[in-house]
Amino acid sequence: MGKSYLDMELLRFTTAGSVDDGKSTLIGRLLFDSKSIFEDQLDHVASSSKKRGLEHTDLALLTDGLKDEREQGITIDVAYRYFATPKRKFIIADTPGHIQYTRNMVTGASTANLALILIDARKGIVEQTCRHSFIASLLQIPHIVVCINKMDLVDHSEEAFEKIKADYEDFAAKLEVKDIRFIPISALNGDNVVNKSENMPWYNGATLLNTLETIHIASDYNHIDGRFPVQTVLRPKSDKYHDYRGYAGRIAGGIFKKGDEITVLPSGFTSKVKQIHLMEEEIEEAFAPMSIAMTLEDDIDIGRGDMIVRTGNQPTVSQDVDVMLCWFSPQGPQVRSKYTLFHCSNEVKTMVNNIHYKLDINTLQRNTEFDNISLNDIIKVSLRTTKPIMNDSYRKNRSTGSIILVDESTNETVAAGMVV
C-alpha cells in the first residue's frame, strides 16, 4: 500500500445542508464505509445519542464537537472531516445550510474543488438547493455533484430523478459551473453511494464514491499564468550561503522554470529565474500550488508583497478593483468606509468607492435599491487601494483574484471578495 498511498491525490469538497436532508447519514456512510470512523468514536456517539434520548445513533455528533453544537443539536461552524480510499484522499468541509450560515458556506467553498449538493427526491429543488449552488458558482468550484437522495421514498423512480435533474439544469443555466453531475442515491440504504444500486437498474452512471475518486482535478489549478507572490526573503548570511538571496512563497498560478524571463511587480524590474529550491533539493520547474524558494540572476530589491510574474503574461496592476463581496459582519459597509485589505502577501488600506448592488442569494436578482448591508449579504463594490495590487479576475485565478477585508478597529475579518 505504501507506494500507492504516496501517489494519491487530494480532493477537497464541500457539503451544505439542513438537519433532515440526509447529509449526516451520507457523510457517516462515506466515513464508515472507508473505515474512517473508529470504534471508540462510534461508542462515544452511541452513548451521547442515548443520553440525548435518541433512538438511533446520530452521526452528526461525530463532528458537532463544540459544547453548544452538541447541546443545541446544530452545526454552527465549518467541520472538517477526513477520509481516504486506496485511490484518493478527501477533505470534507461540512457546513450548515441555513441562510444565516452563508458565511460558513462561503468559507467551506473557498478551498473546495467540488461541491456536493443534496436534494430530497420527495421535495425536489428548494430554496436551500439554489443557495448552495449559487455559492458554489460564485466561489468558482469547478465541479458540482448533485445527489438526489431518498430515492427509496419515491420507489426508486427514474421519472422522479429525471424531473429533478431537468429542473436543476434549468436553474443551473444561470450558474457558472463547468461540470455538473447527477446521481440518484439512498444514503440510508447505501444505494449508489459506494455500491451500485440494484434498485435502480436504469441508472448507468458512476456511484458517488467512484465519482469522487475519479473526477479529473489535475487541471483545477491555473497552470497558465505565472504568478509568484513573495512571502518573505531568505538571507542565511552563513559562510556557505553568503550571497544567497531566495524569495520564498507559494506559486499562485502557472509554471516557473529555470531561465524563465520574469518581471517583478509593481516595480517592473526584469530578470531570469536562476534556481528553484525546496530545501536542499534543486528543482527544474515548479507549479501551483507548490511552496518553493526562488533565486534570480540579478540583484533586485524585492520584498514581501511583491509579485514575480512571467514577463510575457502579467496581471492587472491597479489601485481600483471591482469585487463581489460576501459580508460577514452585522455592521455593513458604506461608501467611504475604510478597511485593511489582504491580497496574496499584500496588506493595504482600502476605501469603498461605490456600492453597485446587493444580490438576492435565492433569486440571483440584482437590487440596486437596498436599505442596509449586513451579515451574509452579497454585494458588488468598487474599491480604491492605497497601493496597487497585482490581481487577476477570480474566474481566471482563485488565488490572485481573492481578497479579504479586515475591520481596522476590531481586527475581525468582515468580508471575502472575488475580483470581477
Binding site: 458565511r103 520564498a248 475579518t413
Partner: protein, 301 residues
C-alpha cells in the same frame, strides 16, 4: 497534464510551509510549541524546509511538566542542538513553587491542566505573539473546529463560537496588544499523513513510538508506563511488555499499546488497521465529553 499535479502529501506539505512562512512574516515574536511528540517534530521539520538555507527562525517552546518520559527530554535537547534552535522550557514545577498553581490531588491527579498557567505565563514573559503547534483537526472533535490562525484574547482564551472565518489561503493575523495567536500548520493532516510523511522524509522520532520492552501497568484499558510518579493501586502489578505509544503526553497519562511494530513501515500498517482513535489512550481527554474544548478555551494547546 498529470505531470503538473501534486500528490496529497506534497500538497499538504506545501500548505503547511506556506502557513509557517506567513507566521514569520506577520508576527514579531513567534515560537514553536514543541511537545516532543511526532506532530510537533513534523512542524519543526517543515519549518526547517520553509527557511532553508537560513536557520529556523523560531525558538522551540517546551512546557516542561516535570512528568516527562526521559526519552522525550533527550530527544528534545538533541534536536534543538542539531538544528541550532533556541530552546525555551518553562517549568510547571516553577509555577507550583511560585504558588501560581496548586498540584492536583486524588487518584487521577495529573499536571495536564496546570500546564495552561505555565504556558500563558511564558507567553507573557517572552512576549510571544504567535505559537505554532502540531494539533490536527482529525485528532479530536474540538480541534476539528480550529482555524489555521486561531485567535486568543488577552487572557489567552479561545472563543470557539466567534472565530474569524478563514478563506482561501489568506490568513488574518491582526490583533490587539496582549492578544496572541495559536497557529496549526498541519491542521489538515491525518495521523496517517504524519506517519507517511515521517517515512517519506526520513524524519527522526523518539524511540517511544517504536515497539520496545518496558515496565507497564494495566490501567484504564491501556498499558501505563511505570515511573516514579505512579503509585500502584490495589490489584495492579508491574508487567514487562513490548509496547509502543501512539501519542506522547506526560508519562503519567499516556497509555501504550502492545505492539511488535519496530519500523515506521510496520507502524503505518498498524495505523491503517487501527480501530481505535489515536488519543483513545489519553487520560486527559477522558475527563468529560468536552474535555478538550474546556481546556482549549482556557488556553491549552
Amino acid at each position: 497534464m498529470m505531470k503538473y499535479n501534486l500528490t496529497h502529501l506534497k500538497e499538504l506539505e506545501s500548505e503547511a510551509i506556506y502557513v509557517i512562512r506567513e507566521v514569520f512574516a506577520q508576527f514579531e515574536k513567534p515560537g514553536i510549541l514543541f511537545s516532543g511528540g511526532k506532530d510537533s517534530i513534523v512542524v519543526t521539520h517543515l519549518a526547517r524546509k520553509a527557511f532553508w538555507p537560513a536557520k529556523i527562525p523560531f525558538p522551540l517552546v517546551h512546557i516542561d511538566t516535570g512528568h516527562n518520559f526521559p526519552e522525550t527530554i533527550e530527544f528534545r535537547n538533541n534536536l534543538a542542538e542539531k538544528i541550532g534552535a533556541e530552546l525555551i522550557a518553562p517549568s510547571v514545577q516553577d509555577s507550583i513553587d511560585k504558588g501560581r498553581v496548586k498540584e492536583e490531588t486524588g487518584k487521577d491527579a495529573s499536571r495536564n491542566w496546570l500546564q495552561i498557567t505555565t504556558l500563558l505565563d511564558a507567553i507573557e514573559e517572552y512576549q510571544f505573539d504567535a505559537l505554532m503547534g502540531g494539533a490536527r483537526r482529525d485528532e479530536e472533535k474540538a480541534r476539528a473546529k480550529e482555524r489555521f490562525f486561531s485567535h486568543r484574547d488577552d487572557f489567552g482564551q479561545w472563543d470557539p463560537k466567534n472565530q474569524r472565518p478563514e478563506l482561501w489561503n489568506i490568513y488574518n493575523g491582526k490583533k490587539s496588544f496582549g492578544e496572541h495567536f495559536r497557529v496549526f500548520p498541519i491542521s489538515n493532516w491525518t495521523e496517517m499523513d504524519v506517519w507517511q510523511y515521517i517515512l517519506a522524509e526520513n524524519i527522526e522520532i523518539p524511540s517511544l513510538y517504536i515497539a520496545h520492552k518496558r515496565d507497564v501497568i494495566w490501567r484504564n484499558n491501556s498499558w501505563l508506563p511505570m515511573s516514579e510518579y505512579i503509585q500502584l493501586r490495589e490489584g495492579e502489578e508491574v508487567n514487562n511488555r513490548q509496547v509502543r505509544f501512539r501519542t506522547l503526553g506526560d508519562i503519567t497519562i499516556t497509555g501504550g499499546l502492545e505492539s511488535d511494530a519496530d519500523t515506521i513501515e510496520k507502524i503505518i500498517g498498524e495505523v491503517a488497521a487501527a480501530r481505535q482513535t489515536e488519543r483513545g489512550n489519553r487520560a486527559d481527554d477522558k475527563r468529560s465529553e468536552t474535555a478538550m474544548e474546556d481546556r482549549k478555551k482556557e488556553g491549552y494547546f
